[in-house]
Symmetry: C2
Subunit: 349 residues, 2 copies
């Protein structure tokens, strides 16, 4: 147990929950988890079931550090990246950090904005994954058995079974179109790529070096920075390539395994996904916070810091939050980023 | 000219524009008139075209006095009613007030929340009406030639023509159902009752005395209160019957005339009515203030004190104002009062 660590990735700025989410309060900080907790707090709760709090590192954006710290216990280390450089750089930096504490460090990587409710099954699977990563130099990712064709996720095609729910990976794939997503789900050979990973810190840096040596070298050199780790990130990060770990490492490495998750998983990637898990009134409406519906069906109404009222609408989201309002049909909510873009063009956040 | 006065009625608390309108900032104070002026300011502008500002009295609710004063020039008298007692009491009090200044006082009564754009035609019609009311002891109301069957207005059936656009009134009617409204409009004999009146102050109090003596007596006694008029209102108003002038006087009096308006008129009784007069984008959307539409058609989006964004909606109103949000199909906006009721039940304004 003593060489196990957790990296929580909390730098996302997703705009799908605008105006509830804002750059200064992104999705992982919204009260989207059961009991009105933030997804980040729920993630930390899962993390500290598998390692002690002083073995958890949270990487986020520099300006989010104060807000992120408020969600963490005092023992959790929170470090702000000076600029976002995607997951390969973040995981490499954390691997270097953990190698300071143990040359045999093994880490679990957890996105902070997903919902997992069965924490016991999650902890059991992590135990399984840590054990595998301690036994062999493998890169292990969690695959989610798809419940429906989904075009917003990457997929993993599984290869030969090793044992039980653990397989070799035959192929990583980018987000498919709907036709392919349907075929993949029907085949039974594809799982969603959850973004939850377990591997040895040294194993990861070696794999990164094999595929992206220019990225691996400065990250590896972070080992030994000690209390100056944050300063060193400031110096190193701006020049790093911004690339996802899937693209930089997993699609190339020969030693990738996929463990089918025994836990529930939802990326809460839309208002609908979140609303499905909230209490509904008899006409299928979800009211959260200071919200009111009159003669509505299937609506999602959120009032945070003010009253949101929906009247005579169907399958529509109405949000009042952070001094702004959005109204949009639920099945068109992916268009909301166009609002953010328009507001940016106007020079407003 | 020296005996002519104007009473502007500015005590309304209509809830149709919630949450833009609030009890403390009702419709007449919203920037609904051309150029973003308030309807009250536009009404005062029309009033001071027919009488000097020191002959204009604005009656409103006590708590609205400061906000109403800000819309008025320094010469206009603004008096706050301690409690609302509908139009018969308000007009009776004003008649008593004007009688202090002239026993032959004639007054025009103007609601403050209607839109009239042709101010020249309005002034000409007022001249016509004042002259008629100075010549004879008549109660004169303005009728609006209906553009469509409307169930939210009272109607006036005209009787014998006196001359030009001036008729006797055959009948006042309450708001009709749609079937009757259609028949009345088709008949060509009915006009909308505009709520704009002209009559002698003494003529009015006499007519009120004939039909509502218990209401007329205390109002008549207000004449002579001078600087203590406001105090006397406080003493008298709470005990008065709350009744409309139509119901208390016009439906009973024998000497009522109707002058067909030669000016445009709109009561702006709905979001649609207001939006029709605003600039539209190529897809028929109206954006007012801090408002944004993405892939919408025929929507009305208002952002006052925050951004209102509508995405992929059709014929829907989206309002962000006064720390609250409303979203509602335009043709269901009459349901919005149910939101106000629900909020009152919750103990919020």
């Amino acid at each position: 147990m003593s060489d196990r660590y957790v990296l929580v990735l909390a730098g996302g700025r997703g705009e799908r929950f605008w105006p509830w989410s804002r750059p200064e309060r992104p999705k992982q900080l919204l009260p989207l988890a059961p009991g009105g907790r933030s997804l980040l707090a729920a993630t930390l709760d899962r993390a500290t079931r598998v390692v002690s709090a002083d073995r958890v590192l949270v990487l986020t954006a520099r300006d989010l550090v104060p807000a992120v710290r408020r969600e963490c216990g005092p023992q959790v280390e929170v470090i702000g990246e000076p600029v976002g450089r995607n997951t390969a750089a973040a995981i490499g930096a954390a691997a270097a950090r953990f190698l300071e504490r143990s040359s045999r460090a093994v880490l679990a990587v957890m996105p902070s904005d997903h919902l997992i409710e069965d924490t016991a099954a999650f902890a059991a699977d992590l135990e399984h994954a840590f054990t595998a990563a301690e036994r062999e130099r493998v890169l292990l990712t969690f695959g989610i058995r798809p419940s429906h064709p989904e075009t917003n996720f990457g997929y993993v095609r599984r290869g030969a079974r090793i044992h039980d729910r653990l397989h070799r990976v035959a192929q990583f794939t980018e987000k498919p179109d709907m036709e392919r997503a349907r075929a993949w789900v029907a085949s039974g050979e594809y799982w969603w790529n959850s973004g939850i990973f377990v591997w040895g810190a040294a194993t990861f840096l070696d794999a990164l070096e094999a595929s992206r040596p220019a990225l691996a070298a400065p990250l590896r050199a972070l080992t030994g920075a000690g209390a100056r780790f944050g300063d060193r990130l400031d110096q190193v990060f701006p020049a790093l390539e911004s690339v996802s770990v899937d693209y930089a490492v997993l699609e190339h490495a020969p030693n990738v395994l996929v463990l089918e998750a025994g836990f529930d998983w939802d990326d809460l990637g839309s208002w609908s996904a979140w609303a499905r898990r909230q209490p509904h009134d008899p006409r299928g409406n979800v009211c959260f916070g200071d919200a009111l519906v009159v003669d509505c069906d299937g609506c999602v109404v959120v009032g945070d810091g003010g009253t949101a009222a929906a009247v005579a609408l169907r399958d529509t989201v109405v949000v009042h939050a952070n001094g702004a309002t959005l109204s949009c049909p639920l099945d068109r909510a992916d268009q909301v980023r166009r609002v953010s873009e328009a507001l940016k063009t106007r020079g407003r956040p």
